[in-house]
């Protein structure tokens, strides 16, 4: 079976700074894959490189077996969509929810915009009452739901999630994570999810890759991680840190 996303020897560099170096991974259709690491590990840059938002200076990225060039075509954007970390920054401040959801449909020339917008809002648990609000009239969780609705309105098969819940309160995070899982099950989506939170990634993903300083440390399954079957000290350190503070004195 051809993988939904295959990355081989990827290198991303901004001028002299190498953000990602020699990273390879493969995600099967319908799978949920996690990228974990601390700030500066290159996990977000990797995701942006897939989306075409960061310069690829080496290696290849293939979607559904087709290697991507420097320019992404419209078909790519109907296959791959992304949800950003900061729900306050990812919605245009001067546009209503309606306008935000209409834009992708208009770009790709859909006709049945009305019904699609209503359905998209329904799917993410926001009623029609939210349709004509501006983003400043929404809470953080509601904004992230709108961002998810916008990403899914083009019916992509791969969803890139860049720390989708790290800016949200714990209780809202649970709601959004549940929503994402439910949408994945309903639509058979492939997820690639970036997070600094091991617990979130193991909850959401089947397999994950730990990154540090732009390189892959190790790849393992969520079950391995839960059973503490890790091979690298760095992963072990992360695991220990995620368990909270222990008073030694």
């Amino acid at each position: 079976m051809t993988p939904a996303l295959a990355i081989d020897g990827l290198r991303v560099a901004f001028d002299d700074f190498v953000a990602v170096e020699d990273v390879s991974l493969s995600v099967a259709p319908g799978e949920s894959f996690g990228l974990v690491g601390e700030s500066g590990s290159g996990k977000s840059t990797l995701l942006r490189a897939v989306a075409g938002l960061a310069p690829v200076t080496g290696g290849t990225i293939a979607i559904g077996g087709k290697v991507l060039g420097d320019r992404r075509d419209k078909a790519f954007y109907r296959t791959v969509q992304m949800v950003f970390q900061d729900p306050y920054g990812s919605l245009h401040p001067r546009q209503t929810v309606d306008r935000l959801l209409l834009e992708p449909l208009a770009i790709h020339g859909f006709d049945d915009t009305e019904s699609r917008i209503v359905r998209a809002l329904d799917e993410v648990g926001l009623g029609a009452g939210f349709r004509f609000r501006y983003s400043h009239q929404l809470s953080g969780g509601q904004r992230q739901r709108v961002a998810i609705a916008r990403a899914l309105i083009l019916e992509p098969s791969i969803l890139l999630l860049d720390e989708p819940t790290s800016a949200l309160d714990a209780s809202v995070q649970a709601e959004v994570l549940n929503l994402l899982e439910q949408l994945r099950a309903a639509r058979g989506l492939t997820f690639v999810m970036v997070s600094h939170d091991l617990a979130v990634v193991t909850h959401m993903c089947d397999r994950l890759m730990v990154m540090q300083n732009g390189r892959a440390v190790e790849q393992l399954t969520a079950a391995d991680l839960a059973a503490r079957r890790v091979t690298q000290d760095y992963t072990r350190g992360l695991l220990a840190a995620s368990e909270g503070f222990r008073r030694t004195a």
Partner: protein
């Protein structure tokens, strides 16, 4: 739902608008309330509205003809009954000339704004979003225009195009877009890498679509503010050209030209030059107050609260 019980104000301020129109009106209403909370801004708006009314109803409001004076009996009369602001050396009623002159002033201001602001907006946003050599070329052109004093450059253009109010407008418009381009570019640079613009890129939107539909609307409010604040300067430049004899030609009642012709009597018959001066002062002040008020009302940073 007690929709019927909602007052018009509640309908406008609701958190859950039911239609595109309601959302838009609600937003405008909030801006309007913020604007009217500023008393000086309202005074500015009143002055500008007054100017518009004067211009529209000039034939009705003006007590005398602006062009034909009573040379025999009414030369250089002091302000008083009959001629409230006095008469000039041709025996023409100054008040009537000022009222008709407001048409010219408005024409200059509106045309310059309509020509210069879109040029600046387009140049600035394209330069800011495209970056690279496009940015470099567009901004160097902008710099060249900025390097000349506005009036001197306008003078050069009028000298080339020939005197007259139309050419003066073109000359002022050509010289006043560069600051707008700078503002639009600065604004574009702050938003071009924001997540919401990246998100639109990820929808597959073309660069033109992003610039026109997503970046320009963000720049427009600061541009409107800047243009209103510049209106005073535009009026003064037009008056300056008129004063130098390169703008409106006699007998057009252009305020700058009126000051120029009153200059000869400034010591004995001060009102001939002072009255159009006051008119320019008041209108400039009106635009400045309006611009300040708009800045507070349209500032997106204030709308979150």
């Amino acid at each position: 739902m007690s929709e019927t019980a909602m007052t018009r104000r509640e309908w406008l301020l609701t958190d859950r608008p039911q239609s595109r129109l309601q959302a838009r009106l609600g937003r405008a209403y909030v801006a309007w309330r913020r604007f009217t909370a500023n008393r000086l801004a309202v005074i500015g708006l009143a002055i500008i509205l007054g100017l518009i009314v004067l211009a529209v109803f000039a034939p009705v409001l003006a007590p005398h003809s602006p062009y034909v004076g009573d040379l025999a009996n009414a030369r250089l009369m002091t302000p008083g009954p009959g001629h409230w602001l006095g008469t000039d050396d041709q025996g023409r009623d100054i008040l009537s000339r000022l009222i008709y002159g407001s048409r010219l002033t408005l024409q200059v201001v509106v045309l310059v704004a309509v020509i210069a602001a879109p040029i600046g907006l387009l140049v600035g946003t394209v330069a800011g979003y495209a970056g690279g050599w496009v940015d470099a070329v567009l901004m160097r052109i902008t710099d060249i225009f900025l390097a000349f004093p506005k009036l001197v450059l306008a003078l050069a253009f009028v000298a080339a195009l020939g005197p007259g109010i139309g050419n003066a407008i073109i000359a002022i418009a050509i010289t006043s877009w560069p600051p707008y381009a700078r503002i639009a570019r600065a604004e574009t640079l702050t938003v071009r890498n924001s997540d919401y613009i990246l998100a639109v890129r990820l929808m597959g939107a073309s660069p033109w679509r992003i610039v026109l539909r997503h970046i320009m609307p963000l720049c427009i409010s600061s541009l409107i503010v800047r243009v209103t604040l510049d209106m005073a300067g535009i009026i003064l430049t037009a008056a300056g050209l008129g004063f130098l004899g390169l703008g409106a030609q006699p007998p057009l009642p252009e305020w700058g030209a009126m000051i120029a012709s009153g200059r000869r009597f400034i010591l004995d018959q001060w009102w001939v030059a002072a009255m159009p001066g006051f008119a320019i002062l008041i209108v400039s002040l009106g635009f400045n107050l309006l611009g300040d008020g708009l800045r507070d009302a349209l500032d997106p940073r204030g709308s979150g609260q």
